[in-house]
Amino acid sequence: MQQDTLVEINDLKQYFAIEKGIFNRKVGEIKAVNGVSLKIKQRETLGLVGESGCGKSTLGRAVLRLQEPTAGDIYFNQEDEKVSVLELNNRDMRKVRANMQMIFQDPFSSLNERMTVMDNIIEPLVVNNIGDKASRKKRAGDLLEQVGLRREYLSRYPHSFSGGQRQRVGIARALSIKPQFIVADEPVSALDVSVQAQILNLLKKLQKEMDLTFLFISHDLGVIRYVSDRIAVMYMGNIVEIGEREELLRNPYHPYTEALLSAVPRPGQRRNRIVLEGSTPDPINLPSGCIFRTRCPYAEKKCAEQKPEWENVEGEHFAACHFKDSLELKGIKNRKRA
């Protein structure tokens, strides 16, 4: 099936200055997102996986322009028109924003405790001047039912709900202005394992019903594997590998992906876990050449001298490694789809 690209990210960078002293002297930069290029296709779920602190959330926020990125371009396909998101002024940005929403990690802090469930859900409608009071209320009630909660909960306050229920409210809120594209930043990692599956299934169901496109962020390969059509692997502010789910899992091209996969327990198979040496490098002084070389078991001289090229592929399997075609890496084999 040929799908159109919905979101295209080109060489996106987000640096945070580190300042010290009373004169705010800039002593360095955290390169949280350091040149990311991606294409996200219409109605797919692109899973973004990586260790804590590798810049997943920062990338997610930058794509929605919740933070102003340092450099790069973001294109969004709106009604067959390619809009350059970072060049929009405030007013036009609002229109595009109605098409891009976010589901947050912590259901306890992403809802405003001081507003009722209804006011939380309809806020996107209110600030975008959509509908009147009655129609908003109806929509909020419909949404609650759609995410599996009772309509009567509308006038309650968030404090009386469990984490899973709150996350459902958060999802209803994100859906209220009928967006096409949703960044889900670790939407289940704060929840009990038993609730996680329910929320993931809900997201899958909603995706079908409403033709949604997801950028799904998680550090949990199991979750990513369950929801994604394609998977992107992130390391220290860079995407190091991207590909179709099964293909990438079975046949990884990048040593970091191999290490990540080796950490997943495999039933009926002896675990050959690859333990990476050392810790992640200092994000302020990134290593030369390949950023993974300080921990890569296959690193050679070339890796320190030359940065492996990244291609902004669409639908293909690609990795940023000099030796991607020659290395024989282990993936997850002989395992039924989850």
Partner: protein
């Protein structure tokens, strides 16, 4: 007989149980639909000391607002020849009739032939009943309600009631305390309100925008905070012209207290804004397309308004003490206007204190007020903190 008693007890027991279980359910339902501020109020009401403080302060504020009616005299009225009269004793037991309604005796001044000092002698020949709503000279309550009654008194000029005695100009100290409370109790609100505006504006700019502005404001705050308060107050009040009217001086003092007192608040606001602006619900509002103004007013401010209220409540007693200090030092309210500070000024003289100790009574009012505000502040803090033990 015994059986019926048992069954009645059982019925009562069931009845009580029902009430409780019903209440429990009500309460449960109520909590789910309760807003954040309602929850704070429920918790606050459970705090005994705070409720006590609130009651005492309510009485204090009420009596001083309606001092015209509650106080038997005005603050400047010189009552006959009663200089340094001790507090009037109120009796309930009459020498002839035993227990009866409260009454007072009249006093008169006599020269002690040995010490050549005037002493007050109680004349027990007549019992003057204390009456509620006694008739008085016509006056205007709060300046516009015509009245002809006072809360209490004997209704007889020969038997005045001085609950807390009189001073060197034969003025009733009780009346002066109530009327002085109008300045002392309300200067706190004025001062806190002004410092709230200055503090939240500067703190808000500092916290939301950060950068150079933040640096400048925070350095100014630190500078102001490093100077001890009293010299700062004195320096400011030295600049207030002596010939200003009582009202003008009052506002000047409010300004001074606010100018010195906004710093703590600015810090609180700045810190809260800084931590809250990156919270997920603020992020969520931005994702929804909300403007900066909406994010600040609708999401950030309400999230820490309870902290502000606590902070402000705890700042009021500081303001009250400030006014008292300034007036005590003669830099604040000028006689004939009266405040608790000027009343304490009269208690400066050791000989006066030794002979007429009732001049210290205003101190008790200052202490009680400050204490009660602290009780309330504690109660509010416990109620506003969702992680408190309850």
């Amino acid at each position: 007989m015994a059986e019926s008693k048992d069954s009645i007890l059982k019925k009562i027991g069931n009845y009580i149980k029902n009430i409780f279980s019903k209440n429990k359910k009500d309460k449960y339902e109520r909590l789910e639909y309760a807003s954040q501020s309602q929850l704070i109020w429920y918790r606050f009401k459970k705090h005994k000391l705070a409720a006590f403080g609130l009651t005492v302060l309510a009485i204090l504020y009420f009596t001083s607002i309606f001092a015209g009616f509650v106080a038997p005299y005005t603050h400047v009225e010189r009552i006959g020849d009663y200089k340094y009269a001790p507090p009037t004793e109120i009796h309930m037991i009459s020498e002839e009739n035993g227990l009866r309604t409260p009454f007072v005796y009249s006093y008169s001044k006599e020269l002690d032939p040995e010490t050549f000092q005037y002493e007050y002698v109680i004349d027990k020949s007549t019992e003057y009943s204390l009456k509620l709503f006694v008739e008085s000279e016509p006056y205007k309550l709060l300046g516009f309600i015509p009245m002809e009654h006072k809360l209490f008194g004997t209704g007889d000029k020969d038997a005045p009631v001085f609950l807390f005695g009189t001073d060197n100009l034969s003025r009733d100290i009780f009346s002066r305390i109530l009327i002085g409370g109008r300045v002392s109790l309300f200067v706190g609100f004025g001062g806190v309100f002004l410092s709230f505006i200055i503090g939240s504006l500067l703190g808000g700019i500092s916290g939301y925008f950060g950068g150079v502005i933040d640096e400048i404001i925070m350095r100014a705050v630190e500078l102001l905070m490093s100077i001890p308060k009293i010299p700062l107050w004195i320096a400011f009040s030295a600049a207030v012209p002596r010939d200003w009217t009582a009202v003008q001086t009052y506002f000047a003092i409010t300004m001074i207290l606010a100018l010195v007192g906004w710093t703590g608040l600015a810090r609180v606001v700045r810190g809260k804004l800084m931590s809250l602006k990156n919270e997920q619900f603020a992020m969520a509002a931005r994702a929804a397309g909300a403007s900066d103004f909406r994010i600040i007013t609708k999401h950030l401010l309400p999230a820490f308004i309870s902290y502000l209220v606590v902070h402000l409540t705890l700042a009021i007693p500081g303001m009250i003490l400030g006014e008292t200090t300034l007036s005590f030092l003669g830099l604040g309210i000028q006689p004939p206007a009266v405040s608790w500070g000027t009343l304490l000024q009269d208690a400066q003289d050791l000989t006066v204190l030794a002979d007429y100790p009732w001049h210290l009574i205003p101190t008790a009012f200052v202490i009680v007020t400050v204490l009660m505000f602290n009780f309330i502040g504690d109660g509010l803090r416990d109620a506003a903190d969702p992680y408190s033990s309850k």
